[in-house]
């Protein structure tokens, strides 16, 4: 179903925009790099001319994901501040998700990354609490319970045959 040059051009562009190391490699030898994607030398050299804009575009793709992650994980984001951003930039390049819920998937995987990289303390508790809010989307179980130390609550979620899932929290 490919349409020749356009297909090759689009595959190369997506690769350069989503793989941070690829753009630098491409700029060193655009003709050889582009040939691997089926592009003629002139076509590769034309794309090399927009490399600075592609670098900026690639950066903006990560920023867009970061903005959404902040909306999904507002407490962790507020508490961690700049560290949330830097940790996300560390996490993001290796993760390429698909589907209509990929921003939620992104946030779910990022909480896993944060739990692996944060020391014990309030930040971890907040991340764990917000991760609990996403758990029903990923768990095969029909219910979940967790002590959410950050908010001094016990959280519950459950799902039934006619109910996707419900949440509630009790203070302690």
């Amino acid at each position: 179903m490919d349409s020749g040059t356009l297909a090759a051009q689009q595959k190369l562009l997506v690769h350069l925009a989503t793989q941070p190391s690829a753009l630098a490699e491409f700029c060193q030898d655009p003709v050889s790099f582009g040939a691997e994607f089926g592009l003629e030398p002139a076509q590769s050299l034309a794309i090399a001319q927009i490399a600075p804009a592609l670098a900026s575009y690639s950066h903006s793709l990560v920023n867009k994901r970061l903005r959404v992650a902040k909306k999904i994980l507002p407490q962790s984001s507020r508490f961690l501040g700049a560290e949330f951003d830097s940790k996300f930039r560390e996490f993001a390049p290796g993760v390429h998700l698909e589907g209509t819920n990929r921003h939620r998937d992104d946030a779910w995987l990022f909480t896993e990354f944060l739990l692996d990289h944060l020391p014990k303390g309030t930040a971890r508790q907040l991340v764990r609490s917000e991760r609990f809010g996403l758990e029903p989307y990923y768990s095969r179980r029909s219910f979940g319970v967790a002590i959410l130390g950050a908010s001094h609550t016990v959280g519950f979620w459950w799902r039934g045959r006619s109910v996707k899932f419900r949440f509630f929290r009790l203070p302690f």
Partner: protein, 282 residues
Amino acid sequence: MRQLAIPVLGVGIGFRSAFAREFRAHPEVADFVEVTADHYLDCSEAKWAELKWLASRFTVIPHGLELSIGSAEGVNRPYLEKLVGLVAAVQPPYFSEHLSFCRAGGVSLGHFAPLPFNEEALAVLERNIGQVQAVTQVPLVLENVTYSFQMPGAEMNEGEFIARLVERTGVGILLDVTNLYTNSVNFKFDPLEFLAPIPPESVVQLHFTGGEWSGDTLIDSHSAPTPEPVFELMDQVLQSFPVKGVILERDDKIPPLAELAAELSRARAIGARHGRWPEAVS
């Protein structure tokens, strides 16, 4: 070209959760709504109930993000199947997507990327639009996007490209006047020259909102009130294009609904002055 059989819709808003409660209390601020299709695909029961409420009160236009209508490898099929279900659920007069591509080689960019304005891209679009229209029955309308770079290989300018696309496919156009203004600023062209070749009757709907500056680049962040030049451009477009409706598309730094309503009122007055819809809310 034959104009798509779409009723006058008036002035509407891109529905967002951030103002859902206020909007339920004051639905009279809008004549119709646009929803981001992706928010209602594989969604929770609460989101679906929200959509049903909107559809019971308004004409709802689904606005997709991930179809990738310009992908040489074909449209995003799993997404299309879900979109078809959503369109069937709300029965809109049309649904909209972006004149761009967002995936290739099985990898999603997560954002729009521009197409080269050439014959090869037109052929891909013609094929993909045909495949989409074969399964949806409802007209597809495509939106001009902003871009931070122009794809090499152009054989015509963007306005001519859109005109050729309309001629070949009969597709309707969602003209985002903010996107047009943004590109015209960043790439230094006259937006009226862009509009000149486009058949007026092809432009079904407008989008408008405000962006932000990042250095010397204007970003379509949908995070600010609509600036004066965009309202001026809207005025010029509504003067000569028989547009059916306009949507305020605010996504970030969303203010109280009253502030958005003021922007809607201004758009309503502009359209009413050009006879596109009545002055009062329907």
